[in-house]
Symmetry: C2
Subunit: 406 residues, 2 copies
Amino acid sequence: MKNNLLEVPQGFLFAAGEAGLRTHGSGPDVALMVSTVPARVAALFTTNRVKAAPVLISQEHWKRSRRIAQAIVVNAGNANCATGRAGLRAARQSAEAAGKLLDVRREQVLVASTGVIGVPLDARRITAQLPALARRLHPEGYEAVSRAILTTDTRPKVAGKSLPIGGRRVRILGMAKGAGMIYPRLATMLAFFFTDAAVEPRFLQSAARRMCDSSFNRISVDGDTSTNDTVFLMANGVAGNPAIGKQGVTAEKFLEALDEVAQELAIALVRDGEGARKLAEIRVEGAASAKQADAIARSIALSSLVKTALAGGDPNWGRILSAVGNAGVAFDPNRVNIFLNGTRVCRRGGAVDFDEAALQRELQARDLQAKDILLRVQMGQGTAAARFWTCDFTEEYVRINASYRT
Amino acid sequence: MKNNLLEVPQGFLFAAGEAGLRTHGSGPDVALMVSTVPARVAALFTTNRVKAAPVLISQEHWKRSRRIAQAIVVNAGNANCATGRAGLRAARQSAEAAGKLLDVRREQVLVASTGVIGVPLDARRITAQLPALARRLHPEGYEAVSRAILTTDTRPKVAGKSLPIGGRRVRILGMAKGAGMIYPRLATMLAFFFTDAAVEPRFLQSAARRMCDSSFNRISVDGDTSTNDTVFLMANGVAGNPAIGKQGVTAEKFLEALDEVAQELAIALVRDGEGARKLAEIRVEGAASAKQADAIARSIALSSLVKTALAGGDPNWGRILSAVGNAGVAFDPNRVNIFLNGTRVCRRGGAVDFDEAALQRELQARDLQAKDILLRVQMGQGTAAARFWTCDFTEEYVRINASYRT
């Protein structure tokens, strides 16, 4: 994360504070993000049938305001999920209090929460902090916000990019938090994107969807989809560019920049997955269709046995081949080649000579620069390809999750 | 497992020996199972698209012999999977050698393997042992066989039952091995069933399928379906009962006995799952349809977060509710109740008062008798129900699988 190179989009202000919501330790756990002018918002929410109160309230506000918002209130430490009517009330109260303070309609305030499920959220803890947050709002406040939203994450995730569009400089800033219940069926965590670009409303939502499809929908830590997943993309138009729409050369440039920022954050989420020591990029090539390539990549990324082999630095290609076989895709195993970090470990569905000890040493490397693993599968069926990112499955993952609440 | 009460079906003989196939340690790893007369065989094989050589060869033999067999050759230590043509040859050679020894056609010999994937299997190691095995064949040899087929299992799994049918005593004996790559899409491991009952051929196969649906297809250790899964059910008719068919009162009695034996083995597999310390029975009640009940039970059983909470003895009902929400089934969370060992931990989709410390102590109990956990979910939608068995997800699971081959 090259934070020092980030340009903050114009017209956005940020502040974080401490509301005492964390059950473990202390630290910032509440944040306010504001656009100085009404901004168009694209939003994607969890596909889990159990949706947390802030998801339901944000969906409601987003519709009622016709996808216009000026503020986001977010908290960590308490997911405000499975909290019944009191939970809905708490989410509404947070939005309302922020709206009053900022003099914007309640419907133009979105909310998001992350943390423990099933514990009542006392909205007063949040609303009591809001005045101080409002006073401290600042363009550089995003760094504090990126820390306040973390739960089991070990580090903040921020990414950004700027590019010229229509003679104006346009900036994109994104931040996200993981690190468990990470599995993509829609966005899978909290992620907030801000741009000062002017963007046509319909195009903004499809841009957000495309951005998620190539980033957050291609990662997994544990295969569990959370109840609170939320992605907001706010575009306030302060940059003054001609509005970006579906037509026009600028669209593709803008989409690419968005994708780049989102992908950087998505990969950072996996790298910081609960207990993760290694990041694995899975590339499936030569599949019969994009859909099949995707299914195969997912099956490998979700296999507990592949993920524990990654933890052990074990070039166990048999488990990879078995995971390919579990993808629900018909194929001829005798055409499959598998590569780990460029070394061919499986040729035409069978064993091949390679220096196993050397590869194992390489896969076990603890050196931060060398710890990423590239897992490539050639299907020998066609020309379709897919990428997916996963992490290794370590004892530390179990330790974290066997004692999360206690 | 009440081994001492087992009655061995008449006309079946067993023997185990050591072929030196295990990469770790030593011990029996090859076995021969024989019916003294040609037996009808029901068979179910893995749904993994990568099928091991013994699966392919057994499928071939089973078809060619019109589902009649007299012997099974099984080995542990080497799965003979992803071993190309040499692997197919090795599986064929084992069957052929056993056929010659026993004076039965090659097609009437079935084979099964379990162990490491992708390592060439030297058939001579098996065929060299077969003469000694043939000499040692004995009805009580099943115990030695149940040990020879184990891999990461910590104990053998045998179950049996006898019942009167048509004035004759009929016996059922089953044995199975786990303990990783256990996830049911069809049977998910090796399991062998023997009965001296006379059973009509078509009915036998549907009985085997029903038996698997209520046992091996309702368990998960790690959500990975193996390349070698095989279930054989041999019926040799030596008991002399009137053949059991679809019609008739005896059918249901026989099916129930089969189900009971299979379910006992299936639960034993989960209990001995890799790294498992606790068995959890998941009961979903009040679902809108059997299919939905099943999907919900599976989603809970496969959730890494639920399984790690079980490991920690954490009554974390929020993760259970979230897993229900990920089942792809529409429902109203406000109607859901969740019980752990009889204690209601979630009422109408929200928190409820209970003695959390006491329940946690109970869930953490190491006492063998008390370590089973009953996880009940009431959906409040209809009357359909489903059961599923899973185990906790422990650091030991990761340790076992991060270093399986090394």
